[in-house]
Symmetry: C2
Subunit: 335 residues, 2 copies
Amino acid sequence: MRAPATVSSLTEADLIARVRARLPPPPAWMIVGIGDDAAVVEPERNRLEVLSVDALVEGIHFDRAFTPPEAIGHRALAANLSDLAAMGADARLALLSLGLPETFPVADFDALIDGLAALAARHRLHVAGGNLTRSPGPLIVDVTVVGTVKRRRALLRGGARAGDELYVSGTIGAAAAGLQMLKASVSSVVEPCVSRYLYPEPRVRLGSILGRTRAATACMDLSDGLADAVRQVADASGVGAIIEAAELPIEPEARRWFESRGADPVHEAMVGGDDYELLVAVRPRSRGRLAAAQRHGGVALTRIGVCTAGGGVPGVIVRRNGGLEPMPRGYTHFR
Amino acid sequence: MRAPATVSSLTEADLIARVRARLPPPPAWMIVGIGDDAAVVEPERNRLEVLSVDALVEGIHFDRAFTPPEAIGHRALAANLSDLAAMGADARLALLSLGLPETFPVADFDALIDGLAALAARHRLHVAGGNLTRSPGPLIVDVTVVGTVKRRRALLRGGARAGDELYVSGTIGAAAAGLQMLKASVSSVVEPCVSRYLYPEPRVRLGSILGRTRAATACMDLSDGLADAVRQVADASGVGAIIEAAELPIEPEARRWFESRGADPVHEAMVGGDDYELLVAVRPRSRGRLAAAQRHGGVALTRIGVCTAGGGVPGVIVRRNGGLEPMPRGYTHFR
C-alpha cells in the first residue's frame, strides 16, 4: 500500500494550481486574481469597505482527529463571514493564507479548499489571492475577507442605549455541545449539534438586512460566546445589560446533552463559543423593522434581555429563578 | 529575580490596548479601526485596490534565537510592502494576525509591534485591525496589506516581451549572507548584510514610480530570490531570458562572505531569498523613463540581462565566462 501523497511532494506552483482548479472563474471586477505578487480589484462604487481577518490554528481552534478538512476550510471562512455579518456588510472577496505541515495529505489540502470554496460560492465571495507556506507543526488557516456596506449603514458594537432590547439569532449552545460530543466520540448520537460545530452558518443575510433597514443600534457575533458578546457590546456602548436566563434560545439537543453530563445548560450556552449567531441591540420602537429583518433574514430572533443605564456594578447581569447573578466570563484567547 | 511577563498573563483586550498604544491616530478615511468585529474604511477615489497577504512562521521564516522581535515585525510587513511595490501600488492599510506562544514575553510582543509600526509609519500605512490568538508552538505573524494603484498602471508579471531588458534594484545576496552570518554567530563582523536580512527596505517608492511612469513592462519582487523571480516573470510572460552573471550587482560584503566560505557568490546571490529588491523588465526605448524612475526612486537599477523569444529549452539561462548554464532553481516553499 502506498502512503498518501503529502503537500511536501508538490511544488508551490502545483498547490496554487490545485486551489485555482477548485474556484469558479473570477468576476470582471477582479482585474488580477491568484498568481501575481498581489491581487488587483475594482472597488465597488458608493460603498464603504469592511475588512476582517481571523485565524484557525490546529491545537487551539480545531483538532484534526475529529475535524474533517472540509470543515476546517468551512469554519475558517465562516468565522470571517460572521464578522462581516456583524457589521451589516455584504461579502466580496477573501485572501487565504495557509501554513501547511509537511505531512499534510494532498487529499486533505484539496478537501480544505473545497470546504472553503463551497461556503464562498454560497455567499458570492471570490478568493482573490493568498499565501502558502510550510508550518513546523500546526496547520494554520488565516483568512482575510473584504466586504462592503453603504455609508452610515455599518453596525457597530458601541451604538446601544439604555432601554434597547437585546436579541440573539438562531439557537445557542449547539456548537459547544457538538464539540464536546466530538471529543467524547459520541458524535453519531446527536447529529445536529456536531453539524453546527463543524459547519456553522454565518448570518450574513440577516446582518446585511439589519444594516440596510437600520433595525439595529448595535451588533456583534457570538464567535467567543454570548457572555463575551453581551459584555463587549455593553462596554463599547457604555451601558449595562440584564439577560433573562429563561428566554435564552438554547438548542434543545444541546440542553439535553449538557444535562446528561451534569452541566448547567444556561451557563454552558452562555460561555460556549463557535455559534456564530448575532447579538443585536434594538430600540423598542424598531420592533417592526426587526420583525421584517427576521422574515427576510431566514433565521429567528429571540429577545433575551435589555440594556440598562451603565455604571452599576456588576453592569452585566443574568436574571434567573428570580435572582440576579453576574454574567459569567466567556472564553478568552489568553488569560 | 522575577520571570518576565508573558502574553498569557494578559487578556486579549490588554494586548489589543498595547497594539493601539503603539500606533498613530487613525486617518479620517478609517471610519472604524481596531476594536470592532471588522474595520470600515472609505475607499480611495479613482484607484484600483491591490491586496496581498504574507505570513512569517517561526522555524520556517525566522529563528527567534537571532532575530530580535522588532525585526520580526519589520520583516513581516516588509514582505507585504514589497509585494505592493512589485505591483506599482502605494500602501494604504494593513491587518495584523498574530499567533502567540503562551510563553511569548510581553516585552517582545511590544517590540514586534514597534518594529512593524515604525516601518508602517515610514510608508504612511495604517493598521486597521487584526486578530490575536494563541499558538500551540511557533510564533505566527500573518499580515494582509491593501494598497492602491491607478487604472492601467499596475505592474504585472506577465507583460515582458522578447527584447525587453531586465534590471534589478539595489544589490543582491546581502540578506542571504546576513542570515548565514547570524547562523554562524559572527554577525558583528560584517554588519551591512545582517542589517539587510533583519531590516530589509521594500522598494515601495521605486515600484510606485515605475507604475506611474509606465517605465516597466513587468515587475516582481525578489522575496524568493533572483533565480525564482526571473523564471516566474519569464513563465508568466511567455519569454525566455539570458542573465549576465558578470553584471549582477552582488553586495560586495556578501561576495567576500560567500568566497570566505568556499561558496560561489554568483550562485548564492541568485538563489538567496529575502532581498526584497525588484526585478524589472523594460523596453529598450523606455530607458529614459527608467533613468528618471531610478533618480526619484532612491535606489540604483542595474541591467542584468534580456528577455528572449520563448519556447527554447532551457528558457532561462545564465551567461558566465563565455558559457551558458541553466538558471539554478531557487528556494521553494514545498518540494
